[in-house]
């Protein structure tokens, strides 16, 4: 038995660096971390199938790579989706996409695009997790509790006393959302809720509008609680407005995000106030960063005659499934794939223990960054990139390895065709 302390967790996007992992001949298992995602996803058996599968039949990886290259090389409208990989893997996928004219998107990009839509048309004023932890005296949580997606958010970034707040006091106000029981337990007496009392199913957009109206000093006389919240925002030294846009429901969630950014700007005019838009499991943020630096555009970008072309609607992976003839699905972090239907062929790169129905045309097992091989992932606040190390060797290649081999195969077939005068 070997114990690995302070292991970096690449899964939800909070970048916790304190996971303890036990390793023995049967595999690895985490010590209880307080996070259901880490506790589940760090549990991996040693003995796994390293063969690829073609229509369900085991084949050597080389053969599967050659077949994948053939399918992708002859595709008319390919897409690369899932895109859950370390930065190296994402960059390899982008090189492949440029080569074959594929679009790229991440499985979980809906939340990101709600935020990006606002960034791109309006801008934003935001902060990072360590600023939240040390400087913030008033946390305003808008919408459902982000801990549903980021389990240790409160424990690690809000429960510790803020270093730069005199007296160390801070309040956490939930607007239009209920704190989860774990959150209540973690933050004890710091929590208040707002907007839940009148309507058990509050319309978030309306609540945010009421708060902005109060900030503008035009509150209806019966909205004293909103006026009080507005006054507290104005009186706070450094308020942070936290939201997880992926959890917003209702039409046009980006308009709620825009209202929040405008709200932040109003308060920030006189005291300090910043937003903290959270999105980013499975290196979603890293995939978007890499796509942006490589192409100049965020995810949902394709290539027309070699030049990048971005369309946040048409190139969303679910929309794209309708006309993609080949889908290369990448899911390196967790042995899970969402259900989706397509009339095209599916090539899947995922951990070997992944259960998939229906069986894809090709399945190539890959390792998980931070478990089978080292890899870089970005934290959900988009600034901090972290290098997750390797823990075990199960003979599983990385996404970058597999795609690199596909690119070599594509190159070879291009040369053969050239030689044959095709």
């Amino acid at each position: 038995m070997t114990f690995h302390p302070e292991i970096l967790c690449p899964f939800c996007g909070l970048g916790c660096g304190d996971i303890g992992i036990d390793q023995d001949d049967s595999g690895i298992a985490p010590r209880p971390s307080g996070c259901p995602q880490a506790d589940r996803l760090f549990r991996r058996p040693m003995g796994v199938a390293t063969d690829a599968r073609m229509a369900g039949t085991p084949v050597p990886v080389d053969q599967a790579v050659a077949e994948a290259a053939r399918l992708l090389g002859s595709a008319r409208a390919p897409q690369i989706a899932g895109l859950a990989a370390d930065v190296e893997g994402v960059l390899a996928a982008l090189t492949l996409a440029a080569r074959i004219g594929a679009t790229v998107d991440h499985e979980r990009s809906d939340a990101l695009f709600r935020n990006l839509a606002v960034l791109r048309r309006f801008g934003w004023s935001v902060t990072t997790l360590a600023e939240l932890r040390n400087r913030c005296d008033l946390v305003l949580v808008v919408g459902p509790d982000p801990a549903a997606a980021f389990p240790r958010l409160w424990e690690r970034w809000v429960a510790p006393a803020p270093a730069f707040v005199p007296g160390g006091d801070r309040s956490v106000v939930f607007l239009g959302g209920e704190p989860l029981p774990e959150t209540v337990q973690c933050l004890a007496g710091q929590i208040e809720t707002q907007g839940m009392e009148a309507d058990p199913q509050p319309d978030l957009a309306t609540l945010v509008t009421r708060l902005r109206t109060a900030l503008a000093g035009r509150t209806a006389s019966n909205d004293a609680r909103m006026a009080e919240l507005a006054a507290r925002l104005r009186a706070a030294r450094y308020a942070v407005v936290v939201w997880a846009a992926g959890l917003f429901e209702g039409p046009q969630p980006d308009l709620i995000v825009e209202a929040l950014v405008r709200l932040v700007r109003t308060v920030d005019g006189t005291t300090r106030c910043a937003g903290l838009p959270l999105s980013g499991a499975d290196n979603l943020i890293g995939a978007n960063q890499a796509c942006t630096w490589r192409t100049g555009f965020p995810l949902r970008t394709g290539f027309e005659a070699g030049a990048p072309s971005h369309d946040p609607d048409r190139f969303a992976w679910r929309t794209r499934l309708r006309d993609a003839d080949v889908t290369l699905w990448i899911s390196a972090f967790r042995p899970e794939v969402p259900e989706f239907g397509t009339s095209g062929s599916v090539i899947m790169l995922a951990p070997p223990e992944t259960a998939i129905t229906p069986e894809p045309a090709l399945f190539i097992p890959v390792g998980t960054p931070g478990i089978d091989h080292a890899g870089d992932v970005f934290r959900a606040d988009s600034v901090v990139a972290l290098h997750a190390g390797a823990l075990i060797d199960r003979g599983l290649p990385s996404v970058a390895d597999v795609i690199g081999r596909m690119l070599v195969a594509l190159e070879q077939s291009a040369e053969t065709q050239e030689a044959a005068g095709c």
Binding site: G15, S125, R272, A274, Q289, W293, G306, A307, P308, V383
Partner: protein, 555 residues
């Protein structure tokens, strides 16, 4: 592979050559001595009449990292309108002008004969990202200057009188952990003060929480950089950027260095006086005079050129003042990790705006009034003053007085009266351009084997046709070699090459690590080991190139 570049005119000021005709030999990735009459080159280029220089080096260009990527996202319209397909040589295309994507950045630089560009504002908390991005820029060498001076850890060291030795250890530890080449200070203490809601902070004003003045931050960092013996002096983005009358602060900042070496960056933005009806005039003459008589100072200009660009800076305080002028009207700001921040504000400089026209004139005035080309560097503070692709136009303005006067006649009619530009007759020579863009940058950064053409130097070579139109000449070199490989011919990419990442590693007393580790545990919520960037993370395992530091005592 042996290559002979025959009969060109060598402009190699580091080795005292100012246009002498000579053969130049490249063996593999290095310049080599003439191998003698028996040698048969694998390739020979007849360069009779051509101008031969080392690859150019840009010492200050925001090419990578979080703020650059945010700027790309904000500048969606620009990217939409400027999309590029990859080239058959393997360069991946991309998009953008003011915020080009990685491959586009490398391509645009190498097409102009630049073989290195340095990211001058790398935040420690964002360093891994910046390195990943720099590693994805083909063709050119890179490196990052670490931003310090508003980080809570440093301000706490100063406020608790931890002493210069502890500060030196911290600076050295951070440089090592983040794989940096130099230290940059941005609005010393000001970014931190802004987090406590201070909207301005003058040179001698105590900051709101630690009670430390920008002058103190500046001097302890300048001393740390000097004592650690870093090749590059402290790279200073001073207080009050863009504020009318700030030339007074800039002159005070020169005094604050009290004889310690200092590099003052984008001084055009710090050279404003407040004379005249509009309370905005040029302070270039006074500043140039002060720089000329202070041999420990070097500067780069941050020239403004007219057109659409975007400003991206760690100086959140200054960017908040600029935000209302955003064009298009959108901007973003970030407070970052008890470290620093960033602000991104799109901007369009107009020649018919009095202020913008004067900014343009002030930059040129500075270039022309500063008499030592070894201490002044060609920058637009890309993309803040203009995209780096404006360098050929800027070189023409410096080398061609008639052209300059013609342009001066086109700007806002009230601006010329408030600068001395019209009366300056100086024209830069080719030798001076070679100093400013090759020899001097390599010397000020400590890159011993870059920026010159002596045997042993990296075979980074640019060949130009000597045209009277200097813009045309510098826009489109005939040949560019990177590490001995011909990568550009007649302005077109013909092969792929990868550059290197340059770093320093001055050494430190590792006792400091205990205090830093506590800061990471208690404030940053991350075990310190996850912060350090390992050599194998640099350029996909290639690792960095180390440059020596020589410890010194302040006299």
């Amino acid at each position: 592979m042996l290559t002979k570049l025959a009969g060109g005119r060598l402009f190699d000021p580091a080795n005292g050559r100012h246009g002498e005709v000579a053969d130049l030999w490249l063996r593999d990735d290095r310049i080599t001595a003439d191998p003698g009459p028996g040698a048969t080159p694998d390739a020979t280029y007849d360069l009779t009449g051509k101008v031969v220089m080392a690859g150019a080096i840009d010492i200050h260009s925001h090419i990578a990292g979080g703020k650059v990527n945010l700027a790309r996202l904000l500048m969606g319209e620009e990217h939409e309108h400027h999309r590029f397909a990859g080239s058959p040589c393997g360069c991946g295309g991309g998009s953008g002008l003011a915020t080009p994507s990685t491959h586009t950045t490398g391509a645009r630089y190498i097409e102009m004969g630049f073989t290195a560009a340095f990211e001058p504002a790398m935040l420690g908390s964002n360093a891994r990202h910046a390195h990943m991005e720099m590693g994805d820029i083909p063709y050119i060498d890179t490196g990052g200057y670490l931003v310090l001076g508003s980080d809570d850890f440093l301000l706490d060291l100063i406020a608790t009188n931890a002493g210069q030795a502890a500060i030196n250890d911290y600076v050295a530890w951070m440089l090592t952990a983040t794989q940096s080449l130099a230290v940059k200070v941005v609005n010393p203490g000001g970014i931190n003060a802004f987090k406590f809601n201070a909207r301005t902070l003058d040179l001698d004003e105590p900051g709101p929480y630690y009670g430390v003045t920008p002058r103190t931050v500046l001097t302890v960092l300048a001393r740390a950089v000097y004592e650690l013996g870093l090749p590059h002096p402290l790279h200073v983005h001073g207080c009050n950027l863009g504020v009318p009358g700030n030339v007074a602060t800039t002159l005070d900042t020169i005094q604050a260095a009290s004889g310690l070496p200092m590099h003052m960056t984008h001084i055009q933005f710090h050279s404003y006086d407040n004379e005249g009806d509009r309370k905005f005039s040029s302070g270039a003459a006074a500043l140039a005079e002060a720089v000329n008589r202070t041999p420990t100072l070097s500067v780069d200009i941050g020239q403004v050129m007219f057109g659409q660009t975007v400003t991206a800076s760690a100086d959140t305080m200054a960017q908040r003042h600029t935000a209302p002028l955003a064009h298009p009207r959108k901007w973003l700001a970030m407070d970052i990790e008890c470290d620093a921040g960033c602000g991104v504000v799109p901007f369009r400089y107009r020649d018919n705006s009095y202020v913008n026209a004067l900014q343009w004139a002030i930059g040129l005035e500075l270039f022309l009034l500063l008499d030592d080309p070894w201490r002044v560097f060609l920058t637009t503070d890309h993309p803040n003053g203009a995209p780096f692709t404006f360098y050929p136009e800027l070189i023409r303005l410096l080398m061609d007085r008639d052209y300059r006067l013609a342009k001066l006649a086109e700007i806002h009619p009230d601006a010329p009266a408030h600068t001395t530009l019209g009366s300056i007759t100086r024209e830069y020579t080719l030798a001076e351009i070679a100093v400013m863009t090759r020899a001097a940058p390599s010397r000020i950064l400590g890159l011993a084997d870059r920026g010159h053409l002596a045997p042993g130097a990296s075979a980074d070579v640019t060949v130009y046709t000597d045209r009277p139109d200097r813009r045309a000449m510098f826009e489109r070199p005939d040949l560019v070699f990177k590490s001995g490989r011909l990568v550009v011919r007649d302005g077109t990419l013909v092969a792929m090459a990868q550059g290197c990442t340059h770093v320093v590693r001055p050494g430190f007393d590792d006792l400091i690590e205990r205090r830093i580790a506590r800061h990471f545990d208690e404030r940053l919520g991350l075990p310190i080991k996850h912060f350090r960037i390992r050599d194998e993370e640099i350029r996909h395992g290639a690792g960095p190139i180390l440059h020596p530091c020589r410890r010194r005592e302040v006299p």
